[in-house]
């Protein structure tokens, strides 16, 4: 999965939302970008909902379900919009339940397994801290619909980021065991952080037009914010290694296929049914 070379597909064989949507097609690029945003929320919401009923206390259960609910709401808005932009009659449900891994555009971080609570919080902290900064930028997007969705979502994600940061500090500072688990969790997730800042042709194309945000513009702030929380938790900085990339191009970890198996089982088994 590591840093696969780009795959050349002749432009003639690619359509909107296909594997390599051509960056000079504004609609195709927007569709692909919306999939990235929507799939991030969808996949993480799905992961968090696996916790329901199994958390360490009722309060923790409530907070995880709450975040999951926000994320599923965001995914619905973003994927419905993606379907409209694509103009092929697909809505959010069609996109969520009837695509296979190669067409999912989420980052690798969100599809990582829950592991223990520390691993779940490591993922949440690293992602929500990034997503909050991204959404702040997108609230000023030239695309009015994206701006409106981002403005609503940024309030939710601010809470997600704060809650996760509090847990990173609590677990880092708590007991020997919680500190060890928190470090393990962060180590597992750290290799997927660079992908969040990967700027490809599509991001550049849309950022130039004021639609997307260039993640590089808030990379330093992100690193500073993460560093401050880790310091407050008494934890070392994130380990550095070669970035693992691929999610934005449909090349995922092995975990995503299993997540989709579960999530998509009913609509795929009964394609005629309306629920």
């Amino acid at each position: 999965m590591a840093s696969l070379p780009p795959i050349d597909i002749p432009p003639a064989t690619t359509g909107n939302g296909a594997f390599d949507a051509p960056a000079d097609d504004p609609n195709g690029a927007l569709f692909d970008y919306l999939l990235r945003l929507g799939d991030d929320s969808l996949v993480l919401g799905q992961r968090l909902s696996e916790w329901t009923g199994h958390a360490a206390s009722v309060e923790v259960d409530l907070s995880l379900a709450n975040i999951a609910l926000d994320l599923i709401g965001q995914a619905t808005l973003l994927l419905d919009y993606a379907g409209e932009v694509e103009g092929r009659g697909r809505d959010g449900d069609k996109l969520a339940f009837h695509r296979d891994v190669l067409d999912f555009r989420n980052c690798l971080l969100v599809e990582q397994p829950n592991g223990d609570f520390a691993q779940t919080m490591a993922r949440q902290f690293l992602f929500s801290t990034w997503q909050r900064r991204l959404l702040r930028h997108l609230a000023g997007s030239a695309d009015a619909r994206i701006a409106a969705i981002a403005e609503k979502a940024v309030k939710e994600v601010t809470y997600h980021a704060e809650l996760a940061a509090e847990w990173v500090i609590r677990l880092g500072d708590g007991t020997e065991e919680s500190r060890r688990r928190m470090m393990d969790g962060l180590e597992w997730m750290a290799r997927f952080v660079p992908e969040l800042f990967e700027a490809d042709g599509l991001t550049a194309f849309l950022a130039e037009r004021g639609v997307a945000a260039d993640p590089d513009s808030f990379r330093a702030d992100y690193e500073e914010e993460v560093g401050a929380v880790l310091a407050a938790a008494g934890l070392p900085l994130l380990p550095q290694q070669r970035p693992i990339l691929g999610g934005r191009r449909g090349h995922h970890s092995e975990h995503l296929g299993h997540l989709l198996c579960t999530m998509q089982f009913l609509p795929r088994t009964y394609p005629e049914a309306v629920w």
């Binding site: 909902s49 009923g53 206390s57 379900a65 500072d173």
Partner: protein, 327 residues
């Protein structure tokens, strides 16, 4: 969701101060609320602690059969609604535990009693959720039965419990509607969906009727609980009400209630219905429900595997407050 009433005997000890007891009974008879700091007979306190904690446990265990389908909900809308519903149940559990704590038992003690098997929860959650239609049937039937039970509890004599029930009832009525809406989609859907809907009704109908507890003649505590206004209507009265309301709803869905003895009785103005298999009910109460072991295993595992998280949170809070004192 609701707890089946499973209390044992609630005899008033003869050692209670007769004057205080008489004053207490007069207040209750006058429909006054009893508040946490008021004097109350020990048997009243015990009965309520048992009932409210059973109710709280039922909410928490009740998250499991539905949680089983959140990851497989068939649309984004259904997934969001089910998440919100299960979240409501966690919330109900929380404020019911809080209401029970006002009677002098800690949440940890109550949870320990659940995990050791000493405390009960509603028998209904010891049945499995096999298809998506079960999520509809639970909302429609199980939450429907819960509402029937809980509406009168909004006027129960213990203030914190009554107030908790006001909020719970509002949310439960939303839960019931979402369940019925799932059933409407399934019953109007493909042959596969109709089959799932009918099968879910077949499996959940009788356990739902059992949620009202044993028949009045075998419910020795009903009289005392009614006298104390802990209970407002008898098990059989509530069960009949539920049947009367639910049977036409099944008809509107085009589904068949699995009871050949079911029929409208013009003279009574009620539906007659068949004999409930009380041996099934008592077996499930004894912990012999089909997934009773799975439910308890899931709760114990969540608690045990979460121990380090709770310990870490406590250790951090302790360090934090020491730092603040030092500052």
């Amino acid at each position: 969701m609701y707890t089946t009433e499973l209390q044992k005997t609630a005899k008033v000890a003869s050692t209670e101060d007769p004057d205080k007891l008489a004053a207490f009974e007069a207040r209750v008879a006058a429909d006054e609320f009893i508040e946490p700091k008021d004097w109350m007979p020990e048997a009243y306190r015990r009965t309520l602690t048992r009932q409210i904690s059973q109710h709280a446990h039922s909410e928490i265990v009740g998250m499991l059969p539905e949680g089983n389908w959140i990851t497989r909900a068939p649309s984004l809308r259904r997934k969001a609604i089910l998440l919100a519903k299960v979240q409501d149940e966690a919330g109900h559990g929380l404020y019911l535990y809080s209401a029970a704590e006002t009677l002098g038992t800690s949440r940890e003690e109550m949870i320990e009693a659940l995990h050791s098997g000493k405390a009960k929860y509603s028998t209904i959650f010891n049945y499995p959720t096999l298809t998506w239609a079960d999520i509809g049937a639970i909302g429609w039937l199980v939450d429907g039965a819960a509402i029937m039970n809980q509406v009168p509890l909004q006027r129960t004599s213990y203030g914190p419990y009554a107030r908790a029930m006001v909020r719970v009832c509002k949310e439960e009525s939303f839960h019931q509607r979402q369940g019925y809406e799932i059933m409407m989609a399934m019953a109007a859907g493909t042959a596969d969906q109709k089959r799932m809907a009918q099968d879910a009704l077949n499996r959940w109908w009788w356990p739902s009727l059992m949620m009202f507890g044993p028949p009045d003649e075998n419910s020795p505590n009903t009289a005392q609980s009614m006298r104390w206004r802990i209970k407002r209507e008898t098990n059989d009265e509530l069960r009949q009400k539920f049947v009367d309301i639910t049977v036409p709803q099944a008809g509107a869905l085009g589904l068949t209630v699995p009871d050949p003895a079911l029929g409208w009785n013009e003279a009574r103005g009620h539906y007659d219905f068949g004999e409930i298999d009380w041996e099934e009910f008592y077996s499930v109460v004894r912990g012999e429900g089909p997934v009773a072991r799975e439910r308890m295993q899931a709760r114990r595992e969540a608690w045990e595997q979460g121990a380090w998280v709770r310990e870490a949170a406590a250790a951090h809070a302790e360090k934090h407050s020491r730092k603040q004192e030092a500052a």
